[in-house]
């Protein structure tokens, strides 16, 4: 017992500190609202007394906001606050930036904060900005998850779907699922016969074939993706071949399309399907099929009723691996696909590296994570993780 604990403590401690803890804090970021609630503490307390039923908040709340903004101005948090509020209501950025710049001056002038602020920018008299502040003042927010689900809070406080031109992410999640399912099915259809052939060949032949099966795993993903672009481009070798044999009259453009994404992803992910199926098939005793046939089953019946059901755990493991790996793909679609072939991971990367919006990146990432986790758990419970084998 002591040795078991000692052996396991090193990898588990490492994973806990270097992976599970970071993962948990990342997941929390998808609801974290510290950028707003942290900068508007006094406003948050004051606005709690506002009934939100009509009009705008009173002098108290305006005063609290001016003091909060003055502080944000001093410690340089105003730009961050302005940006995060701007995600909620478009136009908040200029509103906050101007008010924060003027805040020390407004404090010096004293009463009335309400009329002075509205004089600075008449939009402070609009209800929608105040409703947004009242709604988004808490330490946690559901805003990013709603954005990820194409939902929005309307001015009357009800939740509704975004208009078709603003809706984006549900369709991208759909596309991600569709691409992943298609890639998984294509891999299965290709890998099953190959695994069967390898598993039923003499060891020497099987070993040689295995070299070809695992080749994509050992070669670089980036290089394979790039090579597919070169192969499939309009002036590429594939078109040369098709034109020479007169199969097409003019070059077909496959590079930068959905087909190219399928081809490259199936190519790269195929070993993750073939290996678990092959590993499982090797464990199926050959005399089972023989027995079925000698008892009068046709070879097809023997396969369908005996062999195929026994190979299902391997099929499940292969499908799980390919599907969850495909769900998280973004480099390959980025290189070989077009704009409309980008999957959810690409958008997570966009919101991290290009447009910095941690909350939305975290909400999209968390949704993807939960989806993957559910599939993984169902698999672990129904089939068992030990079926995931790479030899």
């Amino acid at each position: 017992m002591f040795w078991t604990v000692a052996l396991l403590s090193a990898p588990l401690l490492f994973l806990a500190t270097a992976f599970f803890y970071p993962l948990a804090t990342f997941l929390y970021r998808s609801v974290d609202n510290a950028e707003i609630s942290g900068s508007l503490e006094a406003t948050g307390k004051a606005i709690a007394t506002w009934d939100r039923m009509s009009g705008i908040p009173g002098e108290e709340v305006f005063r609290a906001l001016v003091y909060d903004l003055s502080e944000a101005h001093e410690n340089g948090r105003q730009a961050l606050l302005a940006r995060y509020l701007n995600y909620r209501v478009n136009g908040f950025r200029t509103l906050i930036m101007a008010a924060a710049d003027a805040a020390p001056d407004l404090i010096a002038r004293g009463t009335s904060y309400q009329s002075n602020l509205i004089e600075l920018d008449p939009r402070w008299a609009e209800r929608r900005y105040w409703l947004a502040i009242a709604r988004e003042i808490g330490p946690v927010t559901s805003f990013y998850f709603m954005t990820a689900a194409d939902l929005q809070i309307k001015d009357d406080g009800s939740i509704g779907r975004k208009s078709d031109e603003d809706a984006l992410y549900v369709a991208i999640f759909g596309r991600t699922l569709l691409i992943s399912i298609t890639v998984t099915l294509l891999c299965l259809v290709i890998a099953y016969p190959i695994a069967f052939l390898v598993a039923s060949s003499p060891p020497k032949t099987a070993n040689r074939m295995m070299l070809f099966v695992v080749l994509p795993f050992w070669s670089s993903l980036l290089i394979r993706s790039t090579a597919w672009v070169i192969l499939l481009q309009e002036k590429g070798p594939l078109n040369d071949l098709l034109l020479t044999f007169g199969l097409v009259n003019e070059p077909v453009s496959i590079a930068y399309t959905r087909s190219a994404v399928f081809i490259a992803m199936v190519d790269i992910l195929l070993p993750f399907m073939t290996l678990p199926i092959y590993s499982n098939m090797k464990g199926i005793p050959t005399h089972y099929m023989k027995a079925a046939i000698s008892l009068g089953a046709t070879p097809f019946q023997a396969f369908r009723r005996v062999y195929f059901p026994l190979s299902l755990p391997g099929v499940a493991a292969g499908c799980l691996l390919v599907f969850v790996l495909a769900l998280g793909y973004y480099i390959t679609p980025d290189l070989v696909g077009g704009r409309s072939d980008q999957m959810i991971s690409w958008f997570v990367a966009q919101y991290t590296n290009k447009v910095v919006n941690w909350g939305l990146a975290a909400a999209l990432g968390t949704t993807l994570f939960i989806l993957t986790l559910l599939i993984y758990l169902v698999f672990a419970w129904q089939v068992g993780v030990s079926r995931i084998r790479l030899e």
Binding site: A18, P22, P193, I230, P299, L327, T352, N353, V385
Partner: protein, 269 residues
């Protein structure tokens, strides 16, 4: 395991399967094969036919401090990360097989989870964490991140090697008076060595090809080979990439052959 089932149409079926496998294997060789001739072009475009044979782009690679620097970074991170991953993964694999069968699947699922969680989530989570610790854009941070990603790839082959290991040998060594450490080093480790080495190579191959985590966690000082390739890919694919690809294919095939040899050896034992 040779098929000894005989039924009508068997030859035809196997011929069809062979034909299918050969087509698929050829298609999968194409992306590797296409880049080899292109890497020897004297021109600046990656198009066939190549104007004339030249080693120009290999010269470009070996003459560039940037490319060589990225090559060094790749190997440093790859060797260190996969070695740590191998130590942790092997300990984890032995530990997993010693716990009660009820606990085993749960532990295994936990230990290989970095492999099934979307890479972009792993990358972003690790980046935020390492940034808080002041380790973003450092080699330490990048090595930690690569170790996390590589560990499951060690665990899986080592667990399957260990499953074929006769635990009685372990008990015998202990009952003959060897200390657990000595038993591990003298009995267990030599027997599972092929699996451990294969695991190291799996991890190494993953690390030197890793791009997503590296893009998020690495800084301007931690440009690895995949990152260097990726940065140039978006605008125009330079034939230098084809030269790098050819070199990396040679490396990939050598690793593949080594692993196959190890695999056969562990089978025979």
């Amino acid at each position: 395991m040779a098929s000894v089932v005989h039924y009508p149409g068997q030859r035809l079926l196997r011929a069809a399967l062979w034909a299918f496998a050969i087509v698929i294997f050829s298609v999968q060789l194409a992306p590797l094969v296409v880049l080899i001739p292109l890497s020897f072009t004297s021109g600046t475009l990656l198009n066939f036919p190549i104007p004339s044979f030249s080693l120009r782009w290999y010269g470009e690679f070996f003459g560039s401090a940037q490319w060589l620097g990225s090559l060094r970074n790749t190997f440093v991170v790859g060797v260190v990360a996969s070695t740590i991953a191998t130590i942790l993964g092997t300990l984890g694999a032995i530990g997993v097989l010693r716990v009660s069968p009820r606990l085993q699947p749960f532990l295994m699922a936990l230990l290989i989870s970095p492999m099934v969680i979307p890479l972009v989530v792993v990358a972003l989570a690790m980046f935020l964490h390492l940034a808080r610790l002041g380790l973003a854009a450092s080699f330490t941070g990048l090595i930690i991140a690569h170790t996390v990603v590589c560990m499951p790839l060690v665990l899986i082959p080592v667990v399957s090697t260990l499953q074929g290991f006769d635990m009685n040998l372990f008990r015998a060594a202990l009952s003959l008076g060897a200390s657990p450490t000595r038993t591990f080093l003298k009995v267990v480790l030599p027997l599972i060595m092929p699996g451990v080495l294969a695991g190291w190579l799996f991890a190494f191959a993953t690390s030197i090809d890793e791009i997503v985590v590296t893009l998020f966690v690495g800084g301007p000082e931690q440009i690895t080979l995949p990152r260097q390739i990726y940065s140039g890919l978006r605008e125009r694919i330079s034939p230098t990439v084809a030269a790098v690809a050819t070199l990396s294919t040679v490396l990939a095939i050598s690793m593949l052959v080594v692993v196959e040899v190890l695999r056969r050896r562990s089978r025979r034992d």
